[in-house]
């Protein structure tokens, strides 16, 4: 019998990570010698929450594009399975495929707004189309998670936010990419060890309830743990009775102190976190453990974090699971929500005609906004250096006193952008969010950030 399959993506097969319609349409382009130069743009029409989006995922998209090669065995499989219409000519073309176009994009961690181009891809139509599915998959997911986390980190203020979500993430890659996007957006670390290794970010954890249940009593469980982790004792206190758990943690904290160590903190994972954290803080302080911290988890998100902080809960850090790694579009306070996905799209906006002039492209039937032409975004700042206004313009159009957001990444197929370290992108992302005036950072009912169209775009969009 064949062994069970782990089903992980092989990097040498990843060129086939595309929707079949990209192959049918590019094969038709090939057959009809359509090699027009086109631009497609990645943008998001509407956000699942809040007024702003944190762009994330560019590094994985560019790694894919610069390495994009179709292997002989993949093409053989395609020929064997795709029916009589796939002739060899096109498959031979794919064998020699190499991206030769230009890519401009906003750096990872940039704060952007609806309808602003985040990535634009210009090149021969076949090349530009073949990367659609991969680009959308990566950008939609990582930008969703980065945005969700940025909101949590913003309301948590100086308190820590840690990704605890691997068990509820949508597969292995989702857990790893969510840890990356969360860290990029300001999370302190992740519970997932492999994410720590892959992205060089802090990994963090305490103990499961099973660890405590697995021993005769809680006090013994705490004592064994502190003996094994004297430098890093954080005790989970809610397995049986939370405040009794805090008292047991204090006993072990005193024993640690006698041995020259200290109780780093406790974790609450259930119940009324505001009330319990206030009572736990009191018990800890009375026993002389003013420096021991209180960490909480249990179905948290930015709304709950804000609620806890408004209730003056003395919490030092938040472990966030499901609602971080799924980017949950659900407000547990108002009970409003929807689907956990960012609806970003990658649309044809411009085609260079036979006379060399650009032809704007708009889709007419669906009544959805599509700004034609290859575009740039220009950001203006107010007297305090905060974001004041964005202007979307045609690519070559000048906008005075403004900073263009899309920068060159790949030029004529060659990578020219120097990717920052994740740590650098993380600092940049925090500064971006802090440059956004406070009103646009409200969790609910934030106003729309002013994004206007340039004179040239205004002409064609109306």
């Amino acid at each position: 019998m064949p062994p069970p399959k782990l089903g992980l993506v092989n990097p040498n097969e990843i060129a086939l990570f595309l929707d079949y319609y990209e192959l049918t349409s590019t094969k038709t382009d090939f057959d009809h010698e359509n090699d027009a130069l086109v631009t497609q743009e990645y943008f998001v029409r509407s956000l699942p929450f809040g007024s702003y989006l944190v762009s994330a995922g560019l590094e994985q998209v560019i790694a894919f594009i610069t390495n994009l090669r179709f292997e002989e065995k993949d093409l053989g499989w395609l020929e064997a399975t795709s029916g009589p219409d796939f002739r060899n000519g096109f498959l031979d073309f794919l064998m020699n495929f190499k991206f030769s176009g230009d890519i401009y994009a906003v750096p990872e961690g940039t704060v952007v707004f609806p309808n602003e181009p985040i990535i634009n891809v210009t090149g021969p139509t076949i090349e530009v189309q073949l990367i659609e599915t991969y680009l959308l998959n990566i950008m939609n997911f990582q930008s969703l998670i980065a945005t969700k986390t940025a909101r949590m980190v913003d309301v948590a203020d100086e308190r820590t936010v840690v990704d605890f979500g691997a068990r509820r993430a949508h597969g292995r890659d989702a857990a790893l990419l969510a840890a990356r996007a969360a860290y990029l957006a300001g999370a302190t670390g992740t519970s997932l060890v492999l994410a720590g290794k892959m992205w060089d970010i802090p990994y963090i954890g305490t103990m499961p309830h099973a660890f405590i249940q697995n021993r005769p009593n809680e006090l013994q469980a705490f004592r064994e743990y502190s003996a094994s982790f004297p430098h890093n004792t954080i005790l989970l206190v809610d397995t049986y009775d939370t405040l009794e758990g805090v008292r047991n943690a204090i006993i072990v904290g005193k024993e640690l102190h006698e041995q020259g160590y200290r109780l780093i903190g406790i974790r609450l994972d259930s119940g009324d976190l505001a009330k319990l954290s206030i009572e736990a803080r009191k018990l800890l302080d009375e026993a002389g453990f003013e420096k021991s911290k209180i960490f909480v988890s249990s179905d948290l998100d930015e709304y709950r974090i804000e609620e806890l902080i408004r209730a003056d809960a003395p919490i030092d850090g938040f472990g966030v699971g499901t609602r971080l790694v799924t980017g949950a579009n659900f407000n547990p306070i108002t009970r409003e929500g929807g689907v956990s996905a960012l609806p970003g799209v990658y649309k044809l906006v411009e085609r260079i005609g036979k006379d060399g002039h650009p032809i704007p492209k708009t889709k007419l039937s669906a009544q959805k906004v599509l700004l034609p032409f290859r575009k740039q975004v220009h950001r203006q700042f107010d007297e305090n250096g905060l974001f004041h206004r964005d202007t979307i313009s045609r690519w070559e159009e000048e906008v005075p006193d403004a900073e263009p957001l899309l920068v060159p990444i790949i030029q004529q197929g060659v990578l020219t952008y120097d990717f920052p370290l994740l740590e650098e992108s993380r600092q940049y992302c925090r500064s971006q969010v802090e440059l956004l005036p406070k009103s646009y950072r409200l969790l609910s009912e934030a106003p729309k950030f002013p994004v206007k169209l340039s004179p040239e775009l205004e002409k064609v969009a109306s």
Copy 2:
């Protein structure tokens, strides 16, 4: 400068796909020579939608467990980064780690209900704990998607349901696992070519709007496409005006017919799908294209599919994207919803005491249901052969005239289960759903399926 990272999981590093607390707790077990035999069970307390769950993902879980090895370089990294408390003894132990326990589980595609054990894992406490994160990640996601798809396939009746969701899936693995889980649950195929290759399932597609915009007019786009795909012409008709698009498709259909081919069908991707499909059917039929099919897509899910069928929309197949691959817990009809994740858990239920007797385990503080002891599920059938009632029992307890659902998978560390082909699991899954009486398959307000406790369990649960 270092090249950008694709960030895909390396199968040789996957042992570190665990939450750090599994390492701290198992290291403490190791230090204190705790090698108690325990059972942990995977189950789901409450479902995000409907009355039943389709179990999926077992193959990827078992592939992980049977291959679980810690590599020297991973352990070196762990030692270097995890602080002063990780001594070598435990890391040496991990170097020789091999799962030696027993696993029982329901086969993939089995219909199960809340609180029923789906997988139980029995073995030394360290081994049983280390697989938690991976098991939950895979089972929660694939079971969510299989359940969501089973509901769509069920209401779609004989019409096809195809996964179109790669662009909105949570990363690359999510897109591939969703295609697998959807196919397992009865989908006809996927748009994602790599999923077709990886799981040996049909891959399907038409053309993007950009393909049509990229040509002087729709008719020319259709002609070029049909010239390139005469055996498989399905035309996307809604780029400009949908009914005009149908008329253009008919023109091309006639040209195809003259060449000895036929128009397979058309696809609608926007607008009022019920109304447009009725009008399109009329145009096609009047022109003699009674056999050409109508496929639709555009924010579909099981509720929309049911609505379209109730409106007598003459639709032959549904392409479902976002709400399939995210397992969206959102009803667009009632506008109720929540978080796109299955809240499955993996809990300690039993520990063999020093006297050899099992000690039941329950967590007390959170007031959540936890049935103690290692358990089996027994299914009874009615006179028509349909599912009648389930009984959850203690492991060795007999339940007459019932079929036990959990079967042996791994025994003393050795794989003894012969994994069926995905195609076989798919047939099995469809038959499982069809054995569930109709009332439990209602999309909204389905009653709870009767699941009772055995006499022995009743004693300890009350």
